[in-house]
């Protein structure tokens, strides 16, 4: 039963990714302007014609799309469009590892801190501790990745002649801290706040249900109520935001990698945008599309595991949060 649901849900990824690729491809190719003569670069008309033919940009749009799609399915992402030619696939191959490590660590950190924070904020609602937890989560809302990244850069000033910050580190720790710890913390800030806020809201909601009141009145200790009745039911809305957390991590990683010079996919994306390298941009976008669509499938299947009502179809899976 669950397996059938899981297979159907994973297959649904294919049309979604195809749709995303059509939207992205159309945006890129319908837009006015050419990728060749930009930022003062003046190429001769013959050169422009040759490049246009070489990249197949003279073909009708649907033909271009199908050619591009058939190549990408075979793992051929084509050549970059900037002045020095490189295999896009190769660039991405080098960059994907650091980004994956960064995002997974930040996700774990955001959940590991955010869930307890939200739980405390809800269970100690309207007490000093509760207010403190709520305030901490709110502070995280004000810390999008590049603000937090900049702040951390200043607090942990590296020791190269600059006036030392409040916390200057011994050089042997410096590399690990700057290369991994700070980027992960900077990336995790906003997702952590989202997880905490969402956990708080959903726990408060469950706290006021009849079955929790019954559990209390039949004399269960609070810790038992939380463990048996509350966590599982409160988990469903929290799982809903996993998709939008992933979106925050992807967009956040672009900024964080730039600030901390992490050689990952986000940095490549930043430079692809700066250089208007459409081949590279499309390739990265498609990778993100596949990852996000698969993650959403996993989220939906997780609902099925947590809540049997969803997998037998008697209850719809909650829609993902808008605005991710």
């Amino acid at each position: 039963m669950l397996l059938g649901y899981a297979i159907r849900r994973v297959l649904w990824v294919v049309p979604i990714v195809l749709g995303a690729s059509i939207v992205a491809f159309t945006i890129m190719h319908v837009a006015p302007g050419s990728p060749w003569n930009r930022e003062g670069r003046q190429l001769s008309p013959e050169m422009v014609e040759r490049l246009t033919a070489q990249f197949g940009l003279d073909q009708p749009l649907p033909v271009q799309y199908l050619v591009w799609l058939s190549r990408i399915v075979q793992g051929d992402f084509g050549l970059g469009m900037s002045t020095d030619r490189y295999e896009v696939a190769e660039v991405i191959g080098h960059a994907i590892g650091p980004t994956l490590l960064l995002c997974v660590s930040a996700f774990v950190l955001a959940v590991a801190v955010g869930v307890p924070l939200g739980l405390v904020a809800a269970l100690r609602h309207r007490t000093t501790i509760g207010h403190a937890a709520t305030g901490l989560a709110l502070l995280g809302m004000a810390a999008p990745a590049f603000a937090l990244a900049g702040f951390l850069q200043v607090v942990f000033t590296p020791d190269y002649g600059a006036p030392p910050g409040p916390l200057t580190l011994p050089p042997e720790l410096e590399g690990t801290l700057r290369g991994w710890v700070l980027p992960i913390v900077a990336l995790a800030g906003l997702p952590m706040a989202q997880v905490a806020r969402h956990t708080k809201g959903s726990v408060l909601e469950v706290l006021h249900t009849d079955y929790v009141r019954t559990a209390h009145s039949k004399g269960l200790r609070e810790e038992q109520v939380v463990r048996v009745h509350l966590l599982r039911n409160a988990a469903i809305p929290v799982v809903t935001i996993a998709g939008s957390i992933l979106a925050l991590l992807i967009t956040g990683s672009i900024v964080v990698e730039r600030v901390f010079d992490v050689p990952g996919l986000g940095s490549v994306y930043y430079f692809a945008i700066r250089g208007r390298d459409y081949t590279l941009l499309m390739a990265i976008t498609m990778i993100y599309a596949v990852v996000v669509a698969l993650a959403n499938a996993v989220v939906d299947i997780t609902y099925g595991v947590i809540d049997p009502r969803i997998r037998d179809g008697s209850r719809a899976a909650p829609e993902s949060m808008p605005g991710g």
């Binding site: 979604i16 749709g19 995303a20 939207v23 992205a24 945006i27 890129m28 319908v30 837009a31 006015p32 302007g33 930009r38 709110l138 502070l139 809302m141 004000a142 810390a143 999008p144 590049f146 603000a147 900049g150 702040f151 850069q153 200043v154 000033t157 590296p158 600059a162 006036p163 910050g165 809201g201 408060l204 909601e205 006021h208 998709g243 992933l246 979106a247 992807i250 967009t251 672009i254 900024v255 730039r258 600030v259 930043y270 945008i273 700066r274 208007r276 941009l281 976008t285 993100y288 599309a289 996000v292 669509a293 959403n296 829609e319 993902s320 808008p322 605005g323 991710g324």
Partner: protein, 314 residues
């Protein structure tokens, strides 16, 4: 008498409320939540500062105080004479630039939301009311957009249009409105469609149809007013997202173009030398943080105010 006085002393929330109309009630509920009031205060404060600030500060955002920078030998630190927050390396007053960033961010956030309403509400109404191919097409499209980080599409649209002469109007502001609006309407359309679908089932609407009230009139007079609350909530919750999108675009060099300033482009400009001249980055960072907190609190407050059941649970 004693009974009435006892009743008077009860918590106001337990009394049956006397209704003064949909919007007045919602606004009163907003003013009763401390977080909502704080959000409202921050937002009003920001708007006042963004409007009045540039009139008070003696420099414009593009004026360069070159002699001062040469005399000092670099960007002026905060509390320099005449420059409260210091200057950047071109001698431009940082306070003036941060204030300009406030104007840019608030303008983008509000105008982008207008674009969102202008596209999202009609599409949602038509899809929900008519059904058929419009609805199917819309839902498939929103499925695609919703399963994908909005910001990536917004970045792509900006990257595609930002260099064209037409979109250079208003220093890139126009391109930013369009890029955000073209993607963000999807959420509002979904919401309005859902609202329309549920209202369509109600007896009063059915009665109106049965006695032959023209469809356009039903949608305008009955459906739209009832959907206004959720639309207002969605709009206010969309503002912090639009602000974040705008500053990320500017950080990537795609949003507002020089010489205008945006919090995102100010942070980008200062980030490489952040350990040497941290004062260049802190004002826009703090301003961005305050704006995000303010609009988030206000949005949460609005949501609770328009859904009193939810607010009582919280």
């Amino acid at each position: 008498m004693a009974e009435i006085r006892a009743a008077d002393r009860r918590e106001p929330i337990d009394l049956p409320e006397r209704s003064h109309g949909y919007w007045t009630d919602a606004f009163a509920r907003l003013l009763r939540s401390p977080a909502g009031v704080a959000g409202l205060a921050i937002v009003i404060g920001l708007i006042v500062v963004a409007v009045v600030g540039p009139l008070v500060v003696p420099y414009t955002y593009y004026e360069q105080d070159i002699p001062a920078v040469i005399a000092y030998g670099g960007p002026l630190p905060p509390l320099s004479p005449g420059h409260l927050l210091g200057t950047d390396s071109l001698g431009r007053d940082l306070l003036a630039r941060t204030l300009d960033g406030a104007q840019v961010s608030l303008t983008v956030a509000l105008v982008a939301q207008l674009v969102v309403i202008a596209i999202g509400v009609p599409v949602g109404l038509v899809a929900g009311w008519r059904g058929g191919i419009v609805e199917t097409g819309l839902m498939r499209f929103t499925d695609v957009i919703a399963t994908f980080p909005d910001l990536l599409f917004i970045v792509m649209i900006s990257a595609a249009i930002v260099d064209t002469p037409f979109f250079r109007i208003l220093n890139g502001l126009l391109a930013t409105f369009v890029a955000i609006g073209l993607i963000a309407w999807v959420g509002t359309a979904r919401l309005v469609r859902a609202q329309t679908l549920s209202l369509k089932q109600r007896d009063d609407i059915e009665a109106a149809r049965a006695i032959g009230v023209p469809e356009g009139r039903i949608v305008r007079r009955y459906i739209l007013p009832q959907a206004m609350g959720p639309i207002a909530v969605a709009t206010s919750l969309g503002i912090p997202i639009a602000i974040l999108a705008e500053s990320t675009l500017s950080f990537l060099g795609l949003g507002v173009q020089i010489p205008r300033a945006s919090w995102g482009s100010l942070i980008d400009a200062g980030i490489d030398a952040i350990t040497l001249t941290p004062w260049l980055v802190f004002p826009p960072m703090i301003a961005l943080g305050v704006a995000l907190i303010g609009f988030t609190l206000l949005g949460d407050g609005m949501r609770d105010a328009f859904d009193p059941r939810a607010s009582r649970r919280r």
